[in-house]
């Protein structure tokens, strides 16, 4: 080996290392920047959702005087249930809350009862037009209900179903059914068909296999879908305003009174609209996660 090659071998590592280090620094910088921007966006989204919620909570538990004051406090001080009580004692609120519950429960029961067999059929059977039906269900979601407003009201009046709690429940069932069917279908699709076949070989009829094996495994997902129906119905306001006058649900009632009432009423109303959804979503969170493919692991 000549001296020159030896020198070049000894000499070359140093500039190489510098270049590598510089590249590494740049890569690290880029990485840090990327992470920082992801976090920044995430924080922005979180704040966009959380700040109004926090504001509603603060206001709902402040005294009516504090609610009316400006600037508003950042946390309830003093803590008080006066605003809530004022809201609850307002004419029509309790009754509309009760209506909301009745409508949501009926919608939940109906839509689950219909969506379970429908979802099962879509998940398990290959029948003519299955994909068309699936697409049809999905496109119903994309259809603006507003377009149907007048015809719907007319039909309901003609059938003598106008301004009834149960008719609104039917409407909500129709509105939530597409989502519920697709969610429940995906729950069934996540369960291997082999389970049912095994149950059938070991002495079950198809129906027994469904009751003993499929249903227990699908219950979390079905419950999640049911809760979703409940929340959708609880929050739904358009059909509620359209189809009821005396039997208003809570959102319809609040919306109706919104421009006639002060801040305490609005914030307390917001709080009541928000809480059920938050509680439900908190409980079904893990089912919603498991719904998308982790169920059979």
């Amino acid at each position: 080996m000549t001296e020159a090659t030896v020198r070049s071998e000894v000499g070359s590592p140093a500039p190489m290392t510098q270049a590598v280090q510089a590249a590494r620094r740049r890569a690290k910088m880029r990485h840090t920047l990327r992470r920082a921007s992801v976090y920044a966006v995430a924080i922005a989204i979180a704040l966009w959702i959380l700040v109004p919620i926090w504001l509603i909570f603060t206001m709902a538990f402040s005294t009516p005087q504090d609610v009316r004051s400006f600037p508003k406090p950042f946390y309830p001080s003093p803590f008080s249930t006066d605003t809530i009580e004022f809201f609850l004692n307002t004419e029509g609120v309790l009754r509309s809350t009760l209506n909301s519950f009745i409508v949501a429960i009926i919608a939940l029961l109906l839509s689950t009862a219909i969506a379970m067999p429908a979802g099962y059929a879509i998940a398990r059977f290959v029948f003519r037009g299955r994909d068309t039906i699936r697409l049809g269900i999905l496109s119903v979601r994309a259809f603006p209900v507003v377009v149907l407003a007048v015809p719907l009201a007319v039909v309901f009046i003609r059938l003598g179903m106008f301004d009834q709690t149960y008719s609104l429940a039917l409407m909500h069932t129709a509105l939530t059914l597409p989502t519920t069917i697709l969610v429940i279908a995906s729950v069934f699709m996540g369960l291997p068909y082999e389970f049912e076949e095994a149950a059938q070989v070991f002495g079950c009829t198809r129906l027994q296999a469904f009751w003993r094996v499929v249903l227990p495994l699908a219950v979390p997902g079905i419950a999640a879908a049911a809760v979703l129906t409940f929340v959708l119905s609880w929050n739904e306001v358009f059909a509620a305003i359209l189809l009821t006058i005396t039997n208003r649900t809570l959102p319809a009632q609040i919306l109706y009174n919104l421009d006639k009432s002060g801040d305490p009423y609005k914030f307390a109303g917001g709080f009541f609209m928000l809480v059920p959804s938050l509680i439900f979503i908190f409980f079904i969170r893990r089912y919603l996660f498991s719904m998308w493919g982790q169920l059979n692991k």
């Binding site: 082999e194 076949e197 095994a198 059938q200 070989v201 070991f202 002495g203 079950c204 009829t205 027994q208």
Partner: protein, 370 residues
């Protein structure tokens, strides 16, 4: 336990014929393996016997009873599924007891049967646990325990070992064979693994494109394949096939491969006579070819292309004209790639095949025709 008879079964999925006129008789207490490449219809046939998908034509009889149009639960068969199909929401005990509970078996009998099955599969300590966190091997054991506890007339197994890792598969294979032998269960076992088929079955039914090609004992399927497909599907390495031309040489009917003339055994002469002047295939297993390190009478000099040491043997790849030959030798046999060896083909070990149909040329067949 009982015998299973399938008569002229046909199963179609739309235009695709999955099972094409299959007949099969599995004797009482017999262990038959359905073997074939994927898509050959073996699982479809098993499912048709289980009642998970009825045949379009033909009949299925279990224990002399026509079950062709019965639901799975009415057929009194039990099954081990490929992905085990253990119910995750039940304890191991309830899983094994599932079939018995559906049959409303008295509590004490049920208890006893479940415990016996669990003991046989060494899972008696897990009965109270749920299968959620268990390994593949343990689930496999639960699935088998559930199947044998059910005490059905036939036991159907759909590639039960295919999801286990290699070592566990080897272990379970021997254990399953011993267990099923002791139980005397009429068993149909589906696999695409020919080693599994050879090692476990009383008989093997080799399937291809929806048809059963050959039903025979493992030794006969291995040694006397009925056609080119069976010979090249079974065995590792598969049977070697070389093109040979049948011609008169030195006044006798002989098969010429390269420069080598092979004299067929006397019992083959009549069968081979119609092939005079035509090409046929001659098939021989790697281990039946004798490899000599020096010239011998009737031995063909060849060049070794590749030497693969496999531990128990060395596998040589040899080219004879355009025929690729795999030949095994003792690991101590002195040979290197590019070296020369001499091959001897013992006539009795050679299988003769029609080149057009791929079917074996057998003396019996010729006698039947004549």
């Amino acid at each position: 336990m009982a015998e299973i008879i399938v008569e002229h079964a046909v199963k179609k999925f739309g235009k695709f014929v999955a099972i094409d006129d299959v007949s099969l008789t599995v004797d009482d207490k017999e262990f038959v393996v359905l073997l074939g490449p994927s898509g050959c219809g073996k699982t479809t046939l098993l499912r048709a016997i289980a009642g998970l998908g009825m045949v379009n034509e033909g009949r299925v009889l279990i224990g002399g009873r026509d079950v062709t149009y019965l639901q799975p639960k009415e057929r009194n068969v039990s099954m081990v599924f490929q992905n085990y199909a253990i119910f995750p929401h039940m304890t191991v005990f309830d899983n094994i007891a599932f079939g018995l509970k559906m049959r409303k078996t008295p509590r004490d009998v049920l208890q006893e049967r479940v415990e016996t099955a669990a003991r046989l599969l060494h899972i008696e300590d897990m009965l109270d646990r749920r299968p959620g966190t268990m390994s593949g091997g343990q689930r496999q054991r639960i699935a088998v325990a559930r199947a044998i506890a059910y005490d059905a007339q036939a036991l159907l197994m759909d590639e039960p070992l295919s999801n286990l890792d290699a070592l566990l598969r080897l272990e379970m294979r021997a254990e399953l064979k011993a267990l099923l032998g002791r139980l005397g269960a009429t068993t149909i076992y589906v696999t695409h693994d020919q080693i599994e088929a050879l090692s476990m079955g009383d008989r093997i039914a080799v399937m291809r494109k929806g048809q059963i090609v050959q039903v025979d004992t493992p030794t006969r399927v291995y040694d006397l394949p009925v056609d080119h497909f069976v010979g090249s599907f079974i065995g590792n390495p598969p049977m070697n096939f070389m093109r040979a031309s049948v011609q008169k040489h030195d006044g006798a009917l002989q098969a010429r491969v390269g420069d080598l003339y092979i004299t067929p055994p006397d019992y083959m002469l009549a069968a081979l006579r119609p092939y005079e002047g035509k090409d046929i295939y001659i098939g021989i297993r790697a281990e039946n070819t004798e490899v000599l390190s020096q010239p011998g009478a009737g031995a063909l000099p060849v060049t070794v292309e590749v030497v693969e040491p496999l531990g128990a043997m060395n596998l040589l790849t040899i080219l004879i004209e355009d025929n690729v030959l795999k030949v095994s030798t003792h690991p101590d046999f002195p040979v290197v790639a590019g070296g020369q060896v001499w091959l001897l083909f013992p006539e009795a070990k050679i299988r003769w095949m029609d080149r057009d149909t791929g079917r074996a040329i057998t003396p019996e067949l010729e006698q039947v025709v004549a």
